[in-house]
């Protein structure tokens, strides 16, 4: 499983999807978040592996849903 964390929410998905697909599955716009894994920025085509924990950082500061 992979875990995505955005502000005070989190989602868990099966491994094997791209960062972009995972962001979309969270209901977020990939234009508005950056993905950070183990403290490093990762690109949207990165395949998520089992055990990955990805922090999504809001691009627009403030009230983005």
């Amino acid at each position: 499983m992979v875990k995505l964390i955005y502000r005070n929410k989190s989602w868990e998905f099966a491994a094997g999807m791209t960062v972009r697909d995972a962001i979309l599955k969270c209901g977020l716009n990939p234009e508005q978040v950056l993905a950070v894994r183990a403290g490093k920025l990762i690109n949207e085509a990165t395949l998520l592996k089992d055990g990955d924990e990805v922090k999504l950082v809001a691009v627009i500061s403030g009230g983005v849903r």
Binding site: Q32, V36, E44, G63, V64
Partner: protein, 333 residues
């Protein structure tokens, strides 16, 4: 996805440019692009002194970082607005600016300069930047939320008062400090959100004044530039993350639910489906402006010097900033 320049793993893919870059090349690309736009829009030259308005956020701190790395003489200006919002917002923002400067200074002092003929003594007077701090409550006796609470300006939200005060202070510090130019961290998303809002109402006056560089064409006005105006907000945030700049993630508590954020979300929805939409919108606007679409409006803009502070104002007498504090004095009496 691989970096187009070196083939290493990319950290970012900029779909509007069809360009993926690794961390090393992304950190080179952002300053290169910034320099390109500084020259293209004739913002400033290496000899000029720049005042960068910093808020502790990703855009302004990244901009300051880039300008310093490009070798510009850039000092910072932090304006303490007295906003708490339950998160000690203003103090946190100030801390981020101070921390940035401390980090930068420590990097500068650890640099060993060598040349072909051996170690050189370098005049670091201009290499070490300064941070000017203006605390609104200390200077004028009230915080921004306090001022907003007693005026009708902004209909209950402090954003309008805040914008007015910041514009006044930035212009004053730039002018009094002998700076040639005032730089702000506005990115392309900021610009298209404003453009979108003004296009919805065809506010020609505002559209005319939106530009990467506004010349100091009236007495008392500082030249204003936006060196990040062609950089997506996503890229500005990525630069701060990759460069390791610590910034305040939460923007002003009063920004939540704002129209500009709603406009950004609409534009990003279009960008998701059609990469490059935001960039094209902005570039087309700049072209139209260049071709004189709003030229007729220019003839009607006339500014006077404020009777009290001397800063330019559209109406004769006191400027909006001085009227704001004048009302407090009258009320206190």
């Amino acid at each position: 996805m691989k970096c187009r320049k070196c083939g290493h793993e990319a950290v970012i893919n900029m779909r509007q440019h069809k360009l993926a870059l690794c961390s090393e090349h992304f950190l080179e690309w952002v300053p290169e692009q910034t320099q390109r736009f500084i020259e293209k829009y004739r913002m400033f030259t290496p000899d000029e002194r720049i005042l960068v308005a910093v808020s502790g956020g990703k855009d302004s701190l990244s901009l300051w970082d880039v300008l310093l790395r490009l070798g510009y003489k850039a000092d910072g200006l932090y304006i303490g607005l007295g906003i708490d919002g339950g998160v000690d917002y203003s103090n946190q923002s100030h801390e981020m600016c101070v921390k940035f400067l401390e980090n930068f200074r420590s990097q500068i002092s650890s640099v060993n300069v060598t040349a072909d003929d051996g170690p050189q003594t370098v005049n670091t007077q201009y290499l070490i930047p300064k941070l000017h701090v203006v605390d609104i409550a200390k200077l004028y006796g009230e915080t921004i939320p306090d001022v907003a609470a007693r005026t009708t300006r902004g209909r209950g939200k402090p954003c309008s008062v805040c914008g007015l005060v910041k514009r006044h202070v930035m212009n004053r510090v730039a002018r009094d400090g002998g700076y040639d130019v005032l730089a702000t961290g506005h990115n392309l998303d900021d610009e298209v959100a404003v453009l979108f809002g003004n296009a919805l109402t065809w506010n020609a006056g505002y559209l005319l004044r939106q530009a990467p560089m506004l010349p100091a064409d009236k007495p008392g006005l500082a030249r204003k530039v936006k060196p990040f105006c062609r950089l997506y907000e996503r890229e500005s945030a990525a630069y701060a993350l990759v460069r390791g700049i610590d910034y305040i993630y939460d923007e002003c508590p009063f920004a939540e639910g704002s129209t500009s954020i709603a406009h950004k979300e609409i534009l990003n929805q279009m960008e998701k489906d059609s990469p490059g939409t935001k960039l094209q919108f902005y570039l087309s606007f700049l072209r139209a402006r260049e071709q004189g679409l709003f030229a007729e409006q220019a003839a009607h803009v006339e500014l006077n010097a404020c009777e009290k502070c001397g800063q330019p104002t559209s109406a004769p007498g006191l400027c909006a900033f001085c009227r704001l504090w004048e009302r407090r004095i009258t009320k206190d009496e």
